[in-house]
């Protein structure tokens, strides 16, 4: 039977720990978004509170198990920037987390997924483009709903 030196075994353990460390660190650093009921329409309220104009709002239900409805908003600001925001409420934490996994499993090429996904209790808020002044302005209002 092959015997390995302490150095070899140590390097194997080092490799496994180093490979797992970033995942553990990031999972610790990144804040959790627990599933909880959020009343009202967070995007609508955030837009009203920050003076962003809602150009249109349509009811929409994503074709996903556990999706129970939401709205697609087109928002614009006084600089003429336009973003599309789609919200969806989910019937359970499992259904919502499955939707989050699906989003992250569809990056473009080897990059990141398109747009930005915000988790607010039972809602998912999908914003495209990911970086915009409108989302920056909405963020503080939306964050109020992040935890119960």
């Amino acid at each position: 039977m092959t015997r390995y030196s302490k150095l070899e075994v140590g390097l194997l353990i080092f490799l496994i720990i180093v490979a797992l460390l970033p995942f553990v660190l990031i999972l610790v650093i990144a804040e959790e978004s627990p599933y909880h009921p959020v009343s009202g329409e967070p995007v609508n309220e955030a837009a009203l509170a920050t003076g962003i104009t809602i150009t249109s709002a349509k009811n929409t239900t994503w074709n996903m198990p556990g999706a129970i409805g939401g709205k697609t908003y087109v928002l614009t600001d006084n600089k003429g920037e336009v973003v599309t925001v789609s919200t969806q409420s989910f019937s359970s934490a499992e259904a919502r987390d499955a939707a989050i996994r699906m989003y992250h499993s569809q990056p473009i090429g080897r990059g990141k997924p398109v747009g930005s996904l915000v988790v607010l209790g039972q809602h998912l808020v999908y914003v495209t483009p990911a970086n915009s002044d409108i989302l920056k302005r909405l963020a503080p209002e939306l964050k109020k709903n992040r935890t119960p």
Binding site: A19, L21, H104, I108
Partner: protein, 478 residues
Amino acid sequence: MSEEASGQSNGIPSKKVLGLFALAMINVAAVLSIRNFPSMAVYGWSCIGWYIMGAVMFLIPISLAGAELATGWPQGGGVYAWVKQAFGEKGGFTALFCEWSNNLVWFPTVLSFIASTLAFALTPELANSPYYMFSVMMIAFWGTTAIAYFGEEASTKFGNVGVILGSIIPAILIILLGVWWMGSGAALVLPPLTLEAMMPVINVTTLPFFATIILLFAGMEMAGFHALETKNPQKDFPRAMALSAVIIVVCTVLATLAIAMVIPANQLNLASGVMQAIEYFFKAAGVPWLVAPMAILITLGGVVSLAAWLIGPAKGLGIVAEEGNMPPLFDKTNKYGAPVAVLVIQALIGSLISLLYVFLPSVNQAYWILSAMTVELLCIVYVLVFASVIKLRYSQPNTPRPFKIPGGMAGVWIVGGLGMFGTIFAFIVGLMPPSYFTTSGFTYVGSVLLGTFLLAVPPLVFLKFKKASWLKPAGGVR
């Protein structure tokens, strides 16, 4: 017999089973993804402009650079062999390790895609069950690892059949349905084509997307890992690069436009997924019965893509271990020539990360940071590859290169420079947090950089502890 001629690296025999078609299919499997089509279709005609930018700033440079490097240094190991020639073992090992470690972040996402797409063909509700997801993910992961265990011949057969069934046929089907849609006189949701409509909008808000587009065609170097098993690398690599680039571009652009012409942009809700878009498309085209078979084919396409990325860098690490840069523990090759130790270690680490991915709740922000790390690690690989093609023209001008980037030194600088500019730009922009993030910008950038550093640094530790006894002498007995 020379090492190249015998297809050996330190005494490990390699069966020469790969020809032009098989090499091209390895690249197609690694790069062509149905997952990209609906995401890009949202951009309408301007997706053409985005694709052109991705091709000019990355696809063409990496194809030309890869072809020159693969024909000049066809020793096996892919990016490791190329970068090592230019920047020594540290550079080569780091480039290869970054390519391998970025897979560790990517594996759970592609495995999750495979499991949820298969669920779409069976019962979509299954995707909500972490137990279903993890089981299918593990079957796909360890199954692909098992195929790799049986060596290049088995992997090639699986890859060739899989990429045709799972990537090329679905893409052609989407294109044909688009053509039929146009011919049928049905309403097209895209406005008339104009030059202006094709131009992408580039501003501060679209910069991160611009960076993503640059890595849209990442993986074109994958065939380089299989140099030892290639029948005629000097002749076949450049032709395989060209063939795969044509297949990838034609399928990607036409299939994206087909979707964009049929599905209104507001229906292409990206958070709803690829299969939802495909379902809408096929129902609109009057063939809803094709949705489930298509889901199975796309699942297969996902598995083939996984196989291409799982096997290539692992083979590279096998070569590194054979050369004595990793302890003998990592240098276990079976009778099929597969690097079993690396494959098993990779599968164990990948399984642990997949476990975290599936069972930890609310991983949204964590996975965004991890996706950013994937981008950074890949950028390191490509910067080193582009720098190598330039440096080797100076340091080894007389090494025969059956394929040379045209245009002499100016051509190399233009190709290498464009590629380096694109990937450095993608690296910098990859550090930009999205507008909505609950952690501070400093924490975000720090996390991405720290994670990237941790996943890039192990080669330097291995080389620091390197021992002469790790090198396997000719004949294969240590």
